[in-house]
């Protein structure tokens, strides 16, 4: 936790408060979107956002630079999630080792595009477009939620929030290289999950997956 807690926090100037209020109002939907995916709707996303904003207000005096406000707020969101929700949500696959060391050897990238172009699949028209049209928003959300924490946060910040790698690194307190590798692995897992749902729900059909495809 990088946010220092003091007994009597110095009061930030009113101008800074107004700035904060304005910025929070402008980014509230994005904070909520990130909170929903961090918590997978299991731990209350609304509580997470509210707790985050309380901490933001309490620590406003420690904000170094207004330009980094957005990243700072997301860092507080992430840290608050870890301290408030993670223990309650702990699952075997999210254990500490998988959170801290997802950097194991990277398996080959899984590309949906290549699967969609396998010769046994029959499509009318444009297979990529048809595939995307048939996938529902809830399939997307399910695939994101199925990612282990360490990959999910990076994918959410990159693909839903549109953060740069540098901003993600700052928000999650990681090296940019780590962001890069987790993002690549996270997206690969995500595409694999979408492919699996597409097969389960019959969006694509074909022979049963072979062993080496698993």
């Amino acid at each position: 936790m990088t946010v220092p807690m003091t007994e009597n926090p110095p009061q930030p100037d009113p101008d800074l408060r107004a700035f904060c209020e304005q910025e929070i109002a402008a980014m509230l939907d994005r904070l909520y979107a990130a909170a929903l995916r961090l918590t997978k709707g299991r731990c209350d996303a609304e509580d997470l956002v509210a707790d985050t904003i309380v901490k933001v207000l309490d620590n406003l005096h420690s904000l170094q630079d207004r330009a980094s406000f957005r990243g700072w707020v997301f860092r507080i969101l992430h840290n608050t999630f870890i301290s408030n929700c993670r223990t309650r949500l702990a699952r075997p696959e999210d254990n500490v080792s998988s959170l801290h060391t997802p950097e194991g050897e990277a398996p080959e990238q899984f590309w949906l595009f290549d699967r969609l172009h396998q010769p046994f699949l029959l499509w009318w028209g444009n297979q990529e477009q048809e595939f995307l049209d048939r996938l529902m928003a809830e399939d997307m959300v399910r695939a994101i939620d199925a990612l282990p924490d360490a990959f999910r946060m990076v994918v959410v910040l990159a693909d839903i929030e549109g953060f740069s790698y540098r901003e993600i690194a700052d928000a999650l307190e990681l090296e940019v290289g780590t962001v890069r590798s987790r993002l690549s692995r996270g997206r690969s897992l995500l595409q694999k999950a979408l492919w699996d749902y597409a097969r389960e729900t019959g969006i694509v059909s074909g022979p049963a997956p072979s062993r080496d495809e698993r």
């Binding site: 979107a33 509210a50 595009f113 995307l132 994101i144 740069s164 997206r187």
Partner: protein
């Protein structure tokens, strides 16, 4: 400025996601641009990844409930009283 280096499909593919994230830097980005303008297969792949990213973004966005908006407004109101 030096001539843009020619890259093949394999190299373009390796950089494709970072290209879409606008994280490649000018020179590499130009190389990928150049490849995409001449390779239909990599171009449709890029289009697919771009649309998938957009779908993820749309799926992730949700309207903020009024209960949360009220709660945040109350937090600010309290703070401004001090």
């Amino acid at each position: 400025m030096s001539k843009i280096r020619q890259i093949g499909c394999e190299e373009a593919l390796k950089q494709l996601l970072e290209y879409l994230d606008q994280e490649l830097g000018e020179q590499h980005s130009h190389e990928v641009d150049q490849h995409l303008s001449t390779c239909r297969s990599c171009y449709s792949r890029m289009e697919f990844e771009k649309r998938l990213k957009q779908r993820l973004q749309d799926a992730g966005r949700q309207e903020v409930p009024d209960t949360l908006k009220d709660r945040i407004n109350r937090l600010f109101a309290e703070q401004n009283k001090n």
